[in-house]
């Protein structure tokens, strides 16, 4: 009986062998040497990305990753960094500060990492900054808007640069919040606001800036509540806020909570607009419950209106990514290009990368100035972007429509 088993096993093995021969693949495009004429003899350098690639905010995070990847691919094709091939290594931070810190640790222990594009959430950035700064690794964020990240706790009266390695290409909440307040009071004519935040660095910070300006302009905050970032049932907080009869709810937080909040407010009879920041500015907000008349501010001018962005939009579409570039795609593209451009300057025509080059790279990033998809890209002495454009959007006909673009002057 056992002999039969052995014999049949041998027959099966033989049959498999024959079958395998039949499915011989024609040779696919060979190995890693796809980029035709570039000299990549010195090896591969890594551009890191830390963003939420999974979880509720993945729509934004994947847009960041894809745009960075686009920039890296274009740089490889144009042989921007002489002697090296660039590769993208994206680490998922799940919008969680702890995971973000671990992702940063992982990237920072690799000597081939030249810089990191990230993060999305300000709270994650607070945990990532010290890790990367320890190793003098450049960090350029496409989406952090909290001002304390560059200027410290006393950012209004006594700003102090926190980390020399940290830069960002987007505007900050100390202009975004007041910009929103100004629009609300002067253009929309609403003065009684209920503020709801999710308790995170970004939401609380933005709401605080908004509140200051609102009260200066004569508005009043009739109620202020907090919810958890993962909450889905807001009936309790809505019932708490309704008696104070607000005209608008200003939400400091992101779209996974803001969308359902908006819908549940309407269901509960509190049919007033929700006004938020760049955290709710995504198509998913409308999908998850955002209603007509809801408002949001976001950094930069609308991507589609900028000439400089057209090339980016076309190139992104051509690559066929399964996700949209969403709110921060153009910023991520610009950030990556800034990093790559500074790297090219640092290494020159024949330089070799080593950890000693990191300080030089930092300097060159600080001095970087070029035109990008979001406008002119340059950094000030705190690492903030010199581009302080903001836009107010409104949900009209099921989509976000730009209502006003401008900057906030004190």
């Amino acid at each position: 009986m056992r002999n039969q088993l052995v014999k049949s096993a041998a027959i099966v093995a033989g049959a498999l062998l024959l079958a395998a021969c039949g499915t011989n693949k024609t040779e696919t495009e060979g190995g890693g040497g796809g980029a035709a004429a570039c000299d990549t003899s010195k090896g591969t350098l890594v551009v890191g990305v830390v963003a939420p690639l999974s979880g509720a905010l993945s729509a934004l995070g994947l847009g960041i990753e894809n745009s960075a990847s686009l920039a890296v691919d274009q740089a490889n094709e144009a042989c921007k960094v002489k002697g090296y091939k660039l590769a993208l290594q994206a680490e998922d931070d799940q919008a969680n500060p702890q995971v973000g810190a671990q992702a940063a640790t992982k990237l920072s222990s690799d000597a081939n990492v030249v810089g990191v594009i990230g993060t999305l959430n300000s709270s994650v950035a607070q945990n990532v900054q010290p890790v990367l700064a320890d190793k003098d690794i450049v960090q350029i964020s496409p989406a952090n808007t909290n001002p304390t990240l560059t200027k410290g706790e006393k950012f209004l009266d006594a700003p102090e640069r926190q980390f020399d390695t940290y830069f960002r290409v987007c505007a900050t909440d100390d202009v975004q919040g007041p910009f929103a307040a100004k629009y609300l009071v002067e253009k929309a004519g609403k003065k009684k606001v209920a503020i709801i935040t999710d308790g995170k660095t970004y939401g609380d910070g933005l709401a605080a800036e908004f509140k200051k300006q609102l009260e200066t302009l004569g508005g009043t905050v009739v109620a202020q509540e907090k919810v958890g970032e993962k909450d889905t049932d807001f009936s309790g907080v809505i019932a708490k806020v309704t008696p104070s009869a607000p005209e608008v709810v200003y939400y400091g937080g992101e779209y996974p909570a803001a969308g359902p909040l908006s819908k549940q407010m309407k269901d509960a009879g509190l049919n007033i607009p929700v006004f938020g920041g760049d955290g709710i500015f995504d198509a998913k907000f409308i999908e998850l419950g955002g209603k007509e008349g809801d408002l949001a501010t976001s950094v930069g001018a609308p991507t589609e209106t900028l000439d400089s962005a057209k090339a980016f939009i076309d190139a992104y579409a051509k690559k066929g990514y399964s996700e949209e570039y969403s709110a921060y795609g153009a910023f991520s593209y610009d950030a990556t290009n800034a990093l790559i451009g500074a790297l090219a300057t640092t290494l020159g025509d024949s330089g070799t990368w080593g950890e000693d080059q990191r300080m030089k790279l930092l300097e060159n990033v600080g001095k970087y100035s070029a035109a990008g998809a979001t406008g002119d890209v340059a950094f000030d002495e705190y690492g903030d972007s010199t581009n302080k454009l903001l836009t107010v959007y409104q949900v009209t006909g099921g989509k976000w429509d730009p209502a006003e673009t401008g900057t906030f002057e004190k």
Binding site: V227, S235, K240, G259, A268
Partner: protein, 311 residues
């Protein structure tokens, strides 16, 4: 005054959902003394099953027609959750029956994690929150409250949820107390060996228990998604704990207790969030405090009989 009544209404709605899940917990524990940690995930799977039915199976033209969409989605959700529960019972719990109590408990934990992850990985887009269709008429019921402060607003879907939950609970109670199979279930819960001697097939009774519990959880999942308009993979765990608390509060093994316990829990959450210190951020904490107090001081709950809890 309006706020009080509004929060009471909210609490009752939440209690209805919790009750549908709690019934499953209490039935399974009554029969095989197992805390089925994975039952919350069955609730979640039911919601995703319903969403899948809506998105992939229901033809476009019927989507807005709630008379067709709602029953279809409910059926879809029930089918998926029942299948999940049956597979769970057959492959994870049945082999461990009769053994020491630690093993099925840990297995239940493992199944719960595996189910969550399976949905997250294999349902398209499930890593983020997904939108769930409303499935019912828009609009709400407004009850004016004397004394000013506005009306109490209850959307129709929430009202439907409460009615459906109560009807199902009553139906289940009648089934268990009147039908032959129900009698078999009660017999097995009381004394499995004697029931076996009397000709009851314990395997079939247990599978039926799981099926009934899962069906209720599936309905709960779909309706929860419908009134919240979003679902995510975390919804099972939290609501599962609340449901277990409700079952314990009402007296584990008692159907009536599970429902009453569930409404109590719903009210504790909403009223506690409104009036107790810490606000709505700590509403969950009050529920856990209740759980601990009940388990320590009156483990038999409101309607159960005091029994020696087996170690």
């Amino acid at each position: 005054m309006t706020t009080l009544f509004q929060q009471i209404a909210n609490g009752i709605v939440l209690g209805a959902v919790i009750g549908l899940i709690a019934l499953g917990y209490t039935m399974v524990y009554g029969i095989i003394q197992l805390i089925n940690f994975a039952h919350g995930e069955v609730f979640m799977v039911g919601a995703y099953g319903g969403l899948a039915t809506y998105t992939y199976i229901l033809p476009e033209q019927f989507r807005d027609d709630w008379q067709i969409a709602l029953p279809a989605v409910l059926v879809g959700g029930i089918v998926i959750s029942v299948i999940t529960a049956v597979i769970m019972e057959r492959f994870a719990y049945r082999p461990l029956r009769g053994g020491p109590r630690l093993a099925p408990l840990i297995t239940a934990l493992g199944v719960s994690v595996a189910l969550q992850e399976a949905v997250r990985l294999f349902y398209p887009g499930a890593t983020a929150t997904l939108a769930f269709p409303p499935l019912f008429v828009d609009g709400d019921l407004r009850i004016p409250v004397p004394g000013g402060g506005g009306d109490v607003v209850i959307t129709w879907i929430k009202l439907l949820l409460v009615i459906v939950a109560v009807l199902l609970a009553v139906g289940l109670q009648m089934y268990v107390s009147r039908s032959r199979m129900g009698r078999a279930m009660r017999a097995t819960a009381q004394d499995a060996d004697t029931a076996k001697l009397m000709g009851v097939n314990p395997d079939r009774v247990i599978v039926l228990t799981f099926i009934l519990g899962a069906a209720l959880a599936g309905v709960g999942g779909v309706m929860y998604g419908a009134y919240q308009n979003t679902i995510n993979i975390d919804m099972g765990f939290q609501n599962g704990i609340f449901a277990f608390t409700a079952a314990v509060l009402g007296g584990i093994g008692s159907l009536r207790g599970a429902v009453i316990g569930a409404f109590c829990i719903g009210l504790i959450k909403t009223l506690g969030g409104q009036y107790l210190p810490g606000g709505n951020q700590y509403d969950y904490v009050w529920i856990f405090v209740v759980l601990i107090l009940v388990l320590v001081f009156r483990p038999e709950g409101l309607f159960g009989e005091p029994e020696k809890v087996r170690a």
